[in-house]
Symmetry: none
Subunit: 568 residues, 2 copies
């Protein structure tokens, strides 16, 4: 015979560690056979059923209520156990109090530890977003271990972080390594030259551990949380992490680990990976890529292989990283403007640039390319087909008449954000008899005006034609080159070259860049939630301030809502 | 200080060359800083805004109105310039008139140049379909440069052309090369052995120019217009072009260039490409194929690669094209009839033949295969599964009982359109103990009757079995071969062989075939629209008659509509 007794505490909040420990302590009491201490969610009730611990009282509890169940050898033993709950809870509190003063809020913790770059959040899901938001307001990066955070909160937190040049790793981020210090769950990995971005906690652990075993090390292992690469979130954190690794001179090889992302997100991520100009190992776990190598991208099929490829790529690099080339462009010059007369050439250019440049616009429809709001006005990186119907009503095709294209060329050249203008020059019968004679002077003039304004403007032309065309192809090329134009006869090569020129000018992500210094040097953190994370940071030599955090209104949501309304 | 003056001419039609030249002449007048001469569309008004040339008058103009704007150093200079508009227009008219008599209609041009194979149409979009239709009625191929033509007009023009054995290239067809002569925009490309089909003008230019640069040449470069491969048009022109290249002995390698087409259209096009039995390079721009080579199809990813692959394939061919094999079949024999006892064998046969033969019917459902209206009656190319329920009510399965199949075999053999009969012969336990003993005499009889009627009937059998089957597989095969049957033991090989035998008998497209001679020899054309196309044809040694074309009612659409109603 055994007896079950339960107690329900309405609207009470306890740290999940406290609940776990209370359950263990109850179960260890004399005469007690088993105990359950859980919040009254449906899932938890199911777990109680499995353990034969669900009482009618517990069944009736709500998700905000704390259920305490004890199964004992006798009614008396069960009652004795329940009678000790308050004492056990108080005892835990006082032992914590012995450690000295603990701030009650993130704000006061931040005043006590002003250099803290990080806030670690591991409170229950419904409070986590609020805590994280406060951390962002204080200018801290967030390591958000908590799960059960809504997708809407994740998106708004990450957008705010991006605008402030801060990282939100998570929610449900198990692991990160920042300049040698592990946050959350992390292995002890030596410092080195491999940067890892991971939407997977144990993936990050497996890969960084393997890198260490192979004798190499990591600059940072940046976690993103498992949902970062979903369409709704759009890889905000992963793109920031890639941007960090692009700019960080200590990072020489990059690894990306994730389950296969949404197609549009994968395209953006791979475009950003290409734009880092560093070797990038990509492991979209379980995804079979078409080819093993694509430019600077190297596709791995397993976590082990990802680590091995990264180390091999690192070992193949020269010992010294090359000094970065100084940019000839003025600050603010960022964009490519392609003014095409040939529709298919424009289309192929888009296909090539779509994999290279963010914020690509056109007056042609293509997945992953935005429609120009007004074809007369370029936006960010733009490819415009000037042979489209809208331009040719009562006007000659731009292959015959350079007037419209020259006007547009001057318009683009006058835009301080334009860095490079891309043109096709299609020779042959029917086309203008001497297009270079009109384009070259306009280009020369545009370049001079830009230079006078302190800007450096580049021109790339793709000349399509044959040596037997009426225009004299060689002379056309010579005239354009004399005007300072870089000339190609292959559309593919010319467009790829132009894309590579402006790639370094385009940020990988919107918002403010994350300051590299904020990830370097002695790590200092405010811990809100599980004590164990504060302890492990201390063990690693980091400074930590552990906040004695309580939910608003002691976890009573109805009361908290009333308070919020009264303040509002 | 500068002054802007404008003038609006309502409902006036001018050739776009006239407008361009008027604009240039105005801009060159003393004291004039800039000029704009455009039809009053919204897009053109936007362009005037960009150039700081939009006046309130111009803003108020309609799409049918001609806007003339002059920006000059003074009011007087602007007025002087505008005062010269009529003189400048008249001067252009009279200079054109000096070139001698020009016919006012296509009909009279066709009388003056009866050998003309082509009508080039580059008038404004709203008139282009009408001009093209007249050209078709006169038995001419159409090169339709004009854009802004409706999809409905395109479909009806192309259907009519196909019925007449004529080509309609376009609308919005920028480029074609016919036997060395460029139409529209085209490079001077040497003649050679590569035929190019392109739904893309500059794609055709880039590929043919590259072919030339690589030392090879083209037979024809046939443009289709960008919408030809849309579901609604169904690749009518592209299929005609493939049919031309299949029959043209001078074309030894074929290139297809297009944006990725609709799936059903792509399947038809690739089937036709396979049926050419020549190496075909396919560049569905931006489409990543599963495999690089599939039989005679070779997939390219860029325009450059397409040209390079075509030249490499050509160089790999023996110097002399093999003499085409004389067909053993009588005219009118076209179709394959497959009489299967095994359902899965029939289904696999359909999967293979779907990629090889047009007009494929069956009593099994499969995408891209039509349902037989009556399973007892074959249509065009037919695969019938005689084991289907409808055939086996109160009857033994055809693997056990040959009666139904032999009756059907005689029925197919008597059809003068049947060229080949395909059978499966499934041995093993449960099957007929000696199927060849019944099938072989029936086949012999059917072949004799066909020969007596002047036809050549072929039989292909797939024998499925093992050397330990009760029927003696080797003896079964021997008996069938003795009756003149081509025997396979692999379903895939047997079906593919049968498909290949009838492939040359099946047209790639409906309607009349385009006469190869109409694309060869001295090119002669009627030009309606831009003068430059007439001039470039003359430069290339072609004969041209340039029609002094005017729109109905001088371009006044309301008046034209009234006239049309009065005539109607």
């Amino acid at each position: 015979m055994s007896a079950i007794q339960s107690e329900i505490r309405r609207g009470a909040y306890y740290d999940s560690v406290v609940l776990m420990q209370l359950q263990r302590e109850l179960a260890a009491l004399p005469g007690v056979l088993d105990a359950g201490v859980v919040m009254g969610t449906d899932a938890n009730k199911d777990i109680l059923i499995q353990s034969d611990l669900l009482t009618p009282e517990a069944q009736a509890a709500g998700a905000d209520d704390l259920i305490i169940v004890v199964k004992a050898e006798s009614e008396a033993a069960a009652q004795d156990a329940l009678a000790q709950v308050d004492a056990l809870l108080t005892q835990r509190q006082s032992s914590a109090a012995q450690e000295g003063y603990r701030p009650k809020s993130i704000e006061s913790a931040a005043e006590m530890l002003p250099d803290a770059q990080w806030v670690l959040v591991s409170v229950a899901g419904q409070y986590a977003a609020g805590v994280a938001r406060k951390g962002l307001e204080l200018g801290k990066h967030i390591f958000l271990f908590s799960d059960n955070v809504s997708l809407e909160d994740e998106v708004s937190l990450k957008q705010e972080a991006r605008d402030r040049g801060l990282l939100v790793m998570g929610p449900d981020c198990g692991t990160a390594i920042v300049d040698g210090v592990g946050l959350g769950f992390a292995n002890k990995v030596r410092k080195g030259a491999i940067g890892v971005v991971a939407a997977s906690g144990t993936g990050l652990q497996q890969v960084t551990a393997r890198i260490h075993q192979l004798g190499a090390g990591v600059t940072h292992g940046l976690g993103t949380g498992g949902r970062d690469l979903k369409e709704e979130v759009g890889a905000i954190t992963a793109l920031q992490a890639l941007d960090v690794f692009r700019r960080d001179p200590d990072t020489r090889v990059i690894v990306i680990i994730s389950k296969p992302p949404a197609e549009r997100v994968a395209r953006n991520l791979l475009r950003a990976a290409r734009a880092t100009s560093k070797p990038v190992v990509v492991d979209f776990i379980g995804f079979e890529p078409d080819k093993a190598v694509d430019g600077n991208l190297h596709f791995a099929r397993t976590l082990d292989e990802a680590a091995e490829m990264a180390v091999a790529l690192l070992n193949d690099l020269p010992e010294e990283a090359p000094a970065p080339e100084a940019s000839p462009f003025a600050p603010g010059q960022k964009y490519l403007r392609g003014l095409f007369s040939g529709g298919t050439l424009a289309y192929e250019a888009l296909l090539i640039l779509r994999d290279m440049l963010p914020n690509l616009y056109a007056n042609l429809h293509l997945d992953g390319v935005a429609d120009l709001a007004n074809p007369m006005q370029s936006q960010a990186n733009t490819i415009v087909d000037l042979g489209e119907d809208v331009f040719t009503v009562g006007r000659l095709h731009p292959m015959m008449d350079n007037d419209l294209r020259i006007r547009r060329l001057h318009q683009e050249a006058a835009d301080p954000e334009t860095a490079l203008i891309l043109l096709d020059v299609v020779l042959g019968y029917g086309s203008h008899p001497d297009p270079a004679s009109e384009l070259a002077p306009a280009i020369g003039e545009a370049r001079q005006q830009a230079e006078a304004a302190g800007r450096h403007l580049e021109f790339v032309a793709i000349v399509v034609g044959t040596d037997e065309d009426p225009q004299d192809m060689a002379a056309q090329i010579e005239t354009l080159e004399a005007a300072g134009v870089k000339v190609f006869t292959s559309n593919q090569e010319g467009v790829a070259y132009a894309g590579q020129r402006v790639q370094p000018l385009n940020p990988l992500t919107e918002g403010q860049p994350v300051a590299l210094e904020s990830l370097r040097g002695p790590l200092s953190a405010i811990n809100v939630g599980l004590e164990i994370f504060a302890e492990s940071l201390k063990d690693q030599g980091a400074e930590v301030m552990w906040v004695d955090w309580r939910p608003p209104a002691g976890g009573n949501e109805r009361l908290a809502a009333i308070l919020a309304r009264m303040r509002g």
